[in-house]
């Protein structure tokens, strides 16, 4: 298989097209913009459609319409644009329509937005957080597969580093969507007596003596959500945790830095390990708990004020002390490229925590 030097945004866009995505709509916003540029370049030759939507609201609306026809569809933005899309994301969960949302965040301050969401109702969205371009290429087809399988929007949560880092990666492989979509609209069921209905209010027709019954529909959508939460396999990257005194948990770009620093500290004899959650929802709670067995402390490093730390605490259920060693690090642009996102500085924070743990 060919390896090529590709920028993250280009690789993600190419992986989406290879995964069968044939509709994309977006609104420019740093650091998401290059994904939109690349989709506008790659989709038309693949007989796909890329729309320059007039707003994020319309971008996700267009993708919703395309997805309703059974096409693999995607949209994306950064946290601010995702904030505008929340109503549609949650409603699409209730309407059970698959979608992939590329969320190129600024820093990691949108962890709660990604994993909890700001939309209405009883919904969840699987969230995949790649730390490298190669991993993003691997997770893109998984995102479409999960979306189709569970009929639910799926988020890929990256950042400025992921979008703008160039890395030699395998050319994304073409994959076919394997999930049949008997619910998809093409018009042909019109006049049959049972024309299809794709709605967040229910799919039962009045003709069948039912009609919209939100109690019934929301309950059914809730069951589907719980099945999805239980059925999506949590993923994480775990290293050096077996005899670790300190386990450091970090995701995405920060997780990549932490992994490098932990390997360096290990080679120097320090008893430190790492867990890098790849699925932020479902959170790899069992793996975190397992990694912390025998550890004296679990340290969480995020480029925010501490959000994922809640999930780490919920995973450990008090079985191990949890310390926050991260913090917000931004440059003046606010794009999440801060001075603290630097291996020597992260190393210093981990070492300080390790010393604290080993001397108390």
């Amino acid at each position: 298989m060919a390896r090529r030097l590709m920028e993250g945004s280009e690789a993600i866009a190419e992986a989406m097209v290879a995964a069968g995505c044939r509709f994309f709509a977006g609104y420019p916003m740093t650091p998401f913009t290059e994904i939109l540029e690349r989709m506008a370049e790659f989709l038309p030759p693949a007989d796909g459609v890329c729309m320059n939507a007039e707003s994020e609201l319309e971008a996700i609306g267009m993708a919703w319409g395309a997805a309703a026809t059974g096409a693999r569809a995607a949209t994306g933005s950064t946290g601010q644009g995702l904030a505008l899309m929340q109503e549609s994301i949650s409603e699409m969960c209730t309407a059970r329509i698959p979608l992939v949302v590329i969320n190129m965040g600024r820093g990691q301050g949108d962890y709660f937005q990604a994993t909890r969401g700001g939309g209405h109702g009883d919904y969840r969205t699987p969230v995949l957080a790649p730390s490298t371009v190669a991993e993003a290429v691997e997770l893109v087809p998984l995102a479409f597969e999960l979306a189709d399988t569970w009929r639910n929007p799926v988020l890929i949560y990256g950042d400025y580093y992921l979008g703008h880092t160039s890395q030699a990666v395998e050319t994304p492989e073409m994959v076919e969507g394997a999930v049949a979509k008997p619910w998809a609209l093409d018009g042909t069921s019109g006049g049959s007596g049972h024309a299809k209905l794709l709605s967040s209010l229910g799919e039962a027709k009045q003709r069948d003596g039912v009609g919209y019954d939100l109690a019934e529909h929301l309950e059914r959508a809730g069951v589907a959500t719980l099945e999805m939460a239980a059925g999506v396999e949590p993923r994480c990257d775990v290293g050096h945790c077996d005899d670790a005194d300190l386990v450091v948990v970090a995701f995405g770009t920060i997780g990549r830095f932490v992994r490098w620093v932990v390997k360096e500290l290990r080679s120097e004899g320090h008893r430190v390990g790492y867990v890098r959650p790849i699925t932020l929802f479902p959170f790899p709670a069992d793996a975190v708990r397992q990694a912390a067995v025998g550890a004296r402390s679990v340290a969480v490093y995020e480029n925010n004020l501490g959000q994922m730390i809640d999930d780490v605490r919920l995973s450990l259920l008090g079985s191990c002390p949890v310390e926050f060693i991260g913090g917000l690090s931004m440059d003046s642009s606010g794009f999440g490229v801060g001075p603290e996102i630097d291996a020597p500085k992260i190393r210093a924070r981990i070492l300080a925590e390790l010393e604290r743990v080993e001397t108390t």
């Binding site: 319409g65 026809t69 549609s88 093409d186 209905l197």
Partner: protein
């Protein structure tokens, strides 16, 4: 007269059963409307408008390739009893969904059904952008000048002087601003190929509105761009008038501001 009852000091119009002096003229159910009964108020104009649209689709022979996108309002009651494929949208967002549908299924006849609260309040930018793009879809507006589903509140199309639940003394320009004449606004846009404003307050206007709907669908079928039919509909409940007064109220009050006619394209 409709039947009334005294509740406390108030005379209340009963809407839960047919008035004693009313007679059933016909129980005809159009082919594509699955059930005869709907739960909209007596005198509502929306069922006539929707029936007109589905009959035009049948006349066109497009039943097996139609995808309709519904907004949120009283008319949403029809999204689950049509024998046409329906995609339910969020309040205000039907035109963007219809865009995605049409781009992936260019051979389908794609229409939206929205009310004035849905289209002109919540999602105004959506319909304007779809029109400006010349999106090859047909958007239908059911305009009664009130939020009917919540009980008759002011919308962006409520005409000056019109009483609503939260403008009891009538819409006042100084306090509440002016109504948006959405059909005229869309007619001024480059991508709009056919724009018309009809009404369903009498048989003549229903027939004229059906011709407008047919012309709009033809526009889409010929691939000429965005088509738009605004239909003025009665809402006696939200207008706080007797059911049988609503058609005249529409003609005298609503259509005085939102004037009926073909605004762009077609045979005027």
């Amino acid at each position: 007269m409709s039947e009334t009852e005294l509740v406390g000091q108030r005379v209340v119009l009963r809407t839960d059963r047919r008035p004693d002096d009313a007679t059933l003229v016909d129980d005809f159910t159009p082919d594509l409307v699955d059930v005869g009964a709907h739960h909209l108020c007596p005198g509502c104009g929306e069922p006539i408008a929707i029936r007109s649209a589905v009959e035009c689709i049948a006349d066109l022979g497009a039943v097996e390739r139609t995808i309709s996108v519904f907004g949120i309002g009283c008319y949403t009651a029809f999204s689950n009893n049509l024998d046409l494929e329906v995609l339910q949208a969020l309040h205000g967002r039907a035109p963007s969904l219809a865009t995605g549908v049409k781009r992936m299924r260019p051979d389908a006849l794609v229409l939206t059904v929205q009310g004035d609260g849905d289209m002109v309040n919540e999602g105004l930018q959506e319909v304007l952008h779809a029109a400006a793009r010349g999106e090859n879809i047909t958007c239908i507006l059911l305009n009664n000048g009130v939020f009917g589903e919540t009980g008759g509140h002011i919308t962006a199309t409520t005409v000056l002087g019109q009483r609503t639940k939260n403008t009891l003394d009538g819409r006042d320009a100084e306090r509440d601003g002016y109504p948006i004449l959405i059909g005229d606004l869309i007619a001024s846009m480059g991508g709009a190929a056919y724009v018309a404003r009809g009404a369903v307050n009498d048989a003549g206007n229903v027939a004229r509105t059906r011709r407008m709907l047919a012309a709009a669908f033809d526009t889409q079928e010929r691939g000429e761009g965005f088509s738009f039919v605004e239909i003025l509909t009665m809402c006696p409940t939200g207008w706080f008038i007797e059911t049988q007064e609503a058609p005249d109220y529409l003609a005298d009050v609503i259509a005085g501001t939102h004037q009926i006619g073909v605004l762009k394209g077609g045979d005027r």
